[in-house]
Subunit: 171 residues, 2 copies
Amino acid sequence: MAPKSIKTSLAQRGVRLTRQRQILLDLIDGSGKHLDAEALYQLARAKDPKINRVTVYRTLKMLKETRLIDELDLMHLEGDQHYYETRLKQEHAHVICLNCGKVEEFFGEPLQRLRHQVEKNLGFQVVLARTEIGGYCSHCQLLRARELEEAKALPVPVVKSRGRRAASPTA
Amino acid sequence: MAPKSIKTSLAQRGVRLTRQRQILLDLIDGSGKHLDAEALYQLARAKDPKINRVTVYRTLKMLKETRLIDELDLMHLEGDQHYYETRLKQEHAHVICLNCGKVEEFFGEPLQRLRHQVEKNLGFQVVLARTEIGGYCSHCQLLRARELEEAKALPVPVVKSRGRRAASPTA
DNA sequence: GTTAGTGCAAACCTTTTGCAGCTCT
DNA sequence: AGAGCTGCAAAAGGTTTGCACTAAC
């Protein structure tokens, strides 16, 4: 069940808690992962085969505009779709491995400092913040080092590496 | 002219400096603004009416992959297109007014701290970082306060406000 | 001369819209 | 009862791809 806070928050605004929305809300904060519209649609379809993709998009848009969920890009590693997560958690940055697609979350004071400084120095009223960091996770750094070693030991003709697609991101 | 550094950097990789690429490179770091593919295409067309939109996309993709430019979303305030800027500047966050679309840049130590902490705490090798902050600029905060005052003084029926489109972002 | 890069047309993927019918409060 | 939502079909917006031709090195 999606936490009462989101549902009551919606109810207070006069937003109807339809069957479709309940399903989507439960999925969004039930799964620990960052889901995109299509994944959400597929999962929702398992619970209600009648649900329409458009309803998913409309619900996400509404939740985003009412600031109940955050929209992420995750560095567009797999395409141009967006990912979503509840706003219940503490503010965090998303750290994405450009090789394997793994997504880690970083909670730490620089994020709050940043927010405060922007408010103070620019006289800005911060409503939402999104920090995404791309690079290589410790695992892929090792992999890459090993590959380089092998290349040195066995100098075969260099294969031109075109931008590789990463694996699907995980929470 | 785009700085020699970018052009030599490309030349060293064996990338050809075609007429089209020269135009685009000059535009990208000549204008102080954050341009999207379409704006870039229109500007490039003024200098070379034969240039094709596809070439713009291909060039941007290549520059992004070779890490010579950064891709921004600017909170998708006007649509789902991307904006681009050279990587010559110091790392900075983009602060976007959700009402008027103005984009300010924030340089400050929390950004470096964040980067360092992610590298140290997660053993991550940071390659690129993107921080976007949405909210209300000082000007729009005043506007909004005034509107609220007027609403209080003259209690007309509330007009439901649907998500408004912001003005085009500026550097 | 070679190979990378360009232009064109067409496809692609994600998201939005118009409208008629359904449903939650 | 009636506004708010949904589903369907169709379109829009942004970006990529296949292929033959062109131009940079």
